[in-house]
């Protein structure tokens, strides 16, 4: 015989306006095992909570049901109330009579009847709840940051500066990411590498940060507080501790390939420095373009280096696997540009003077392929008329990306103004749909670009770009005047969208984190938990989670770092105890549950020939329970018996 108390919240008129509170409170009080039922205008308020506590003590309750708003709102609140009154916190259940009853119905009689059913269900459930306590597990107080862009660097620095060790894993030969490629940043027109460079060096010099370049996460096992990570590092042919960037190796290297840092607008050697400010400041040997590693055929770089007595180059280097133990992981994998060649109406890849915004960005950069002079890729001439097409392949659910990349309005304004600065007698045109300039100083910046740059903004889209006598004919529309327009341009710049970096989806699988419909890392809650993935202990920063600009990225990176630090600050952590449990006697040892578990929490004990649950690994989804043919598995506080009781409670 249980002693249950039922508490019904009016929530002002939110519930009381549609549900007859008196009727359901009376009905609840007559339910078997219910000792007391009471109501209050706002149960979440101090007096409301006091009412519950008083009743628990006065009636010696051993379980409570709170009929109020969704458990997403106040489940924790009322568990704490129960605990404060001396109950086990898992002896509290919520009956959601607001979001799923009073707010969605208007017939008082029907809503009252339904609220009563919902409360009955919760009573049946709470009566079968076990006494549980959170599980305590130890924490490895180190962090792993995946991705060495501005988000990863910021997050790594924040964690490291708090005294914890950080592994910063970067896929390419240098940290710096996309931000290193940019010329100036909006809205301040800071030189991008000038503000990023010092941070890169700071990360390199920080004794708590270990940078693993040319590396990728291969395997992640374990769980929050105790991850075991395997990182595969490609062969490091050039020893970064010895290399002094003398560039003798580059001079002799015979292999030339397009330089990805310059968006393939220039060439680099097979042995190269990713860019002038690269960190670690060392050369990289690109296996794919090297003329002969296996078998060694060329070796000119090594000879040149050895001649100087440096011996930094080891052509026999092998890939290495680092096994790391960390407590928290921050994923900061960033973005890449949508493939503009897929937008066939604009002729990217066919007409050399149709370029992407990132290519134009490189051209604006003083260290870029043209040393900051804007030139037409086709003939090197300085363009006079430039057309910028915003939303190229964006906000197009039927034809390309459905979403808005958020930064293009800003950088396009900047591009148009910088073009005007560099080519004063030139003319820039911008096709736009809306100008989205929300952000500190952003609207002012766009207006300034428009005014100073003499840019002609045309509200509409472009249908087609084609070549005509060494000009690009741009056919578009200005919807404000209702006229179709045609511009003979020298260069067309496509503001293509941001897409998740290649391999994000695979990494998400490895991390057991999920991605959204566009392939970006999914946050645990879009409003309230934007820095965390749904998997405990995996945090998110930067454009790998959603398109965002640099300030937002940096803010999110620091936020994710603080979340990680929160976790690393204590030697142990608590987890929800509502995990799977196995009754050994009932287990037939069939092993069906083992592959059903997505978290490898189930395994076969070969000696006893039964399955075992590793509680620390169990996330509590209950998939194994539904798969168990002998009923040996159950999910604590959501057992089959409880669900059956709830089904019955609802039907009568």
């Amino acid at each position: 015989m249980r002693r249950v108390g039922v508490f019904v919240c009016h929530c002002g008129l939110n519930i009381a306006g549609t549900v007859n509170i008196k009727e359901i409170t009376d009905a609840a009080s007559k339910t078997p095992d219910v000792v007391v039922a009471a109501d209050h205008r706002y149960l979440c308020s101090e007096p409301g909570q006091a009412l519950i506590k008083d009743n628990i003590k006065q009636h010696r309750l051993d379980a409570i049901v709170v009929a109020a708003c969704s458990p997403a709102m106040h489940e924790v609140t009322f568990r704490n109330v129960a605990r404060a009154a001396g109950l086990n916190r898992y002896q509290s259940e919520i009956a959601n009579i607001r979001e799923q009853c009073s707010w969605v119905h208007d017939n008082i009689e029907k809503a009252t009847e339904k609220a009563h059913v919902i409360i009955r269900q919760s009573i049946e459930k709470v009566k079968l709840n076990e006494l549980l306590d959170p599980i305590t597990v130890p924490v490895t107080r180190k962090a792993l940051v995946i991705g060495g862009g501005i988000a990863g660097i910021r997050a790594a620095l924040d964690v490291a500066n708090s005294g914890h060790q950080v592994y910063l894993v970067e896929k390419t030969g240098s940290i710096g990411g996309r931000m290193a490629q940019l010329s100036e940043t909006f809205p301040t027109l800071d030189c991008s590498i000038c503000i990023l460079g010092p941070l890169m060096v700071e990360a390199y010099r920080n004794p708590n940060i270990k940078i693993l370049r040319l590396s990728e996460v291969e395997e992640v096992k374990g769980f929050i507080g105790n991850f075991k990570v395997k990182v595969r590092q490609a062969p490091v042919y050039v020893d970064e501790t010895k290399c002094n960037s003398c560039a003798e190796c580059v001079k002799v290297c015979p292999a030339e390939v397009p330089n990805e840092f310059d968006s393939d607008l220039t060439w680099r050697k097979a042995i190269y420095i990713p860019f002038a400010q690269a960190v670690p400041p060392a050369y990289v040997l690109d296996e794919k373009s090297c003329l002969g590693l296996l078998p060694q055929a060329c070796g000119e770089c090594k000879k040149a280096c050895d001649k100087l007595g440096m011996s930094c180059i080891n052509l026999d280097a092998h890939p290495e696997t680092h096994e790391l133990e960390v407590g928290a992981i921050i994923s900061a994998t960033g973005y890449e540009m949508y493939d503009a060649a897929r937008l066939t109406e604009y002729g990217y890849g066919i007409y050399p003077d149709v370029m992407t915004s990132l290519e134009f960005e490189r051209m604006l950069s003083a260290s870029g392929p043209t040393s900051g002079i804007i030139r037409r890729p086709s003939d090197g001439r300085i363009p006079k008329e430039v057309v910028f097409i915003q939303c190229a392949g964006q906000r197009e659910p039927e034809t390309a990306l459905a979403y808005c990349s958020k930064i293009c309005c800003m950088y396009t304004a900047r591009h148009a103004m910088l073009f005007h600065h560099k080519v004063p007698d030139g003319q820039a045109y911008v096709f736009y749909m809306d100008i989205r300039a929300g952000g500190k100083g952003y609207e002012e910046f766009v207006k300034r670009c428009q005014e100073e740059g003499g840019v002609l903004y045309l509200r509409g889209r472009v249908a087609k770009v084609h070549e005509e006598d060494d000009k690009l004919v741009v056919k578009g529309v200005d919807t404000l005047s209702g006229k179709t327009v045609q511009i003979h341009a020298d260069v067309v710049v496509l503001a293509v969208g941001m897409v998740p970096s290649q391999g994000s989806r695979e990494l998400a699988n490895t991390l057991k984190a999920s991605v959204d419909e566009n392939g970006f890392f999914a946050e645990a809650h879009p409003k309230l938990r934007p820095l965390e993935s749904a998997t405990a202990g995996i945090f998110l920063a930067g454009a790998g989670q959603a398109p965002k600009d640099i300030p937002e990225t940096v803010a999110q990176a620091s936020g994710a770092a603080s979340k990680a630090l929160n976790l690393l600050s204590s030697p142990t952590l608590e987890r929800e105890p509502t995990v799977a449990r196995i009754v050994n006697e009932q287990c037939s040892g069939c092993g069906i549950c083992v592959p059903a578990c997505p978290f490898e929490a189930l395994s076969m004990n070969t000696e006893k020939r039964i399955a075992e649950v590793a509680e620390a690994l169990c996330e509590g989804c209950g998939t194994c329970v539904a798969s168990c043919p002998s009923g040996a598995l159950s999910l604590r506080n959501l057992t089959d018996t409880q669900i059956m009781a709830m089904i019955r409670a609802g039907s009568g």
Binding site: R395, E396, P397, E398, M433, A463, K475, V477, T484
Partner: protein
């Protein structure tokens, strides 16, 4: 006189009728103008294709006064380019259909050339006459 906008605007009988006959959801249109930019006949139209949609969104009967929807050659350029998957040619067809079903106007053809393929004549009758 200002066009009166009210709650009835968004459910105007005209809008509903056009949506039903064309099978298109006009609320998809966000007025980017790509249909007008791509329409080969737009330069000859008195109301740009995107404005045809806009007039309908606002329930403006004056859309029928335009000659645009008679000029639509059903080339589907707009359909191919629309980022939201709308087919403006179907909307034009719906406007023609409404007009033709209401007043049985006859297609006036200057003596067609003997070399005109049948498909041209049949298409014209199907598109521009009530039969």
């Amino acid at each position: 006189m200002a066009h009166q906008i009210s709650a009835a605007t968004v459910t105007s009988p005209l809008l509903r009728k056009v949506e039903r006959i064309s099978g298109q959801n006009l609320s998809l249109c966000y007025q980017c103008g790509k249909c007008s930019a791509t329409c080969p006949l737009a330069p000859q139209m008195d109301l740009m294709p995107h404005l045809v949609i806009r007039y309908l969104q606002l329930g403006l009967e004056q859309v029928f006064d335009a000659k645009s929807y008679w000029l639509c050659a059903t080339c589907f350029s707009c359909e191919t380019q629309c980022p939201r998957g709308l087919d403006v040619s179907k909307v034009c067809e719906a406007l023609r259909t409404i007009k033709l079903r209401n007043d049985l106007r006859d297609l006036k053809i200057e003596k067609p050339s003997p070399e005109m393929p049948q498909q041209g004549l049949v298409s014209a009758f199907r598109k521009l006459s009530p039969y």
